[in-house]
Symmetry: C2
Subunit: 321 residues, 2 copies
Amino acid sequence: MVIASWQDLVERTLAGEPRALARLVTLVENRAPGWREAMKTLYPRTGRARILGITGSPGAGKSSLTNRLAAGFVERGHRVGVIAVDPSSPFSGGALLGDRLRMKDVATAEGVFIRSMATRGSLGGLCQGARDVGRVLDAAGYDLVLIETVGVGQDEIDVVRAADLVMMICVPGQGDGIQAIKAGVMEIADVFVVNKCDRDGADQVEADIRGMLALAGDEPGDVETVFQTDSLSGRGVPDLLDALAARIERACDPERGLRRARDEVLGLVEGEIAQRVRTWIEDGERLGSCVERIRSRRSDPYSAAESLIADFDRVGADPHE
Amino acid sequence: MVIASWQDLVERTLAGEPRALARLVTLVENRAPGWREAMKTLYPRTGRARILGITGSPGAGKSSLTNRLAAGFVERGHRVGVIAVDPSSPFSGGALLGDRLRMKDVATAEGVFIRSMATRGSLGGLCQGARDVGRVLDAAGYDLVLIETVGVGQDEIDVVRAADLVMMICVPGQGDGIQAIKAGVMEIADVFVVNKCDRDGADQVEADIRGMLALAGDEPGDVETVFQTDSLSGRGVPDLLDALAARIERACDPERGLRRARDEVLGLVEGEIAQRVRTWIEDGERLGSCVERIRSRRSDPYSAAESLIADFDRVGADPHE
């Protein structure tokens, strides 16, 4: 395979070539040479796509519901991108024992582009990775990007926090499943779905959600917030699609946009500086001796870190010194 | 309440005062003034405790099994500390809508000390926080520390990665639950438990686990690796206790210790420098103008981050400049 330049991939992606898009996404996700320039070039072409974050505990049926929604939105005339950031997703093709990032194309059906990202070892951070891939899809003309991720874990919560609209999937019979999710995601979810609604206890889960919303002081608005679906049969999906479509149209909160831009720049700066610090420490074999002193308890991790930071201050943050 | 100095709290903790211990843990966890000095002072007194990481998906019965194990180890003469880093844990007292760190004592039964940490907003990082609290308990004479956390999410995986021994809890009927966990935790778990083993499908889950272990090339060793328990009735718990006790005795891998010391020092340095970068950026109102330019697409996040990093390089990493 001829190695294409990032310029070439950007140009062909904007011209609508699906294979170029797939390779550009890989380049950006892997932080391969040119990724930053590619993103800078694409950025002015972005801003049209809406991002729908889909989250829920393992076994909630996120992937099959995401599939249903993607198909439904395509029928309604959208071009849909799907980013699965979920180790349980069948899209991910199994990250078992894998430490490294894995991504691959799973489907390239007309109007849909699906990518999966493993949650571990993501270069530059999981959240920024998903954000960048979403932005490439945006520039390529996908006007709706579904990001599917598990609802537990700070990284995963950050991913959905970066979405325009957040949908949380619950399921009957998962014990303290709702309990687990509510802590992090409940307060950022806009729409709640009780999936596998033919199971016993679906109404109870719905009542629990409504109870928690009431507790949180959310007024019942003019648009329905809680839905029951069965992603296997498709039951309840059309109503959910209607509600999501209506809400996505409205989801342009400038406050949210400002906060997200702030978070992103901060994250990029911190990530880059952390990378430099790590390279500096690891390059100089600076760790070896202090680790041995810590292990023998002649020193401690806190003092060792302080002394390394003092050294770093002296040489400065500039990687060329 | 009289505010005690860290010196005072350290002294009284080492003298065995439970109330001082509780307050010292709070001080350290909150990064209150003196936390670092307290940790440095305690460090030479640590190294005796073994850390058992307990992980599993929400609803797997982690908390009740942890309770059973804690009680069992106390009966066997251990002093046991429990750190619950799990939003679904009943110990956590509900982090619903809470953004801030919450910790409180839940139990102070003879020989057991239980603390819970919310997974979000943990100052200095979740993993370092759990590590520091575990170390305080170690210095206070708790020779076994159980750290309970959910099995999904990088932060949570890092927490168990810092343990001497890792136990993963599965449960029948959670659909792709094992699927979700295996990606991150399967390869670092030493012991597997199928909890709620009276449910249909327990044998299948056990077979799945054994299958995955075989796939990963793990030879069946002389100590059993996979157990079935029912944490409600206590069935299977004595066998599990025996196996854990045997393995904890042996869990002193020097390689693992070295890697952990490295990871910790790196994490402390990176965390401190990231904190400085954040303070520097936020203090100077440096973000405001570039965020507006990004929003109007006159600039992009990548260029803005580069220019902030260049500024940071000029002034240096020293917070006093």
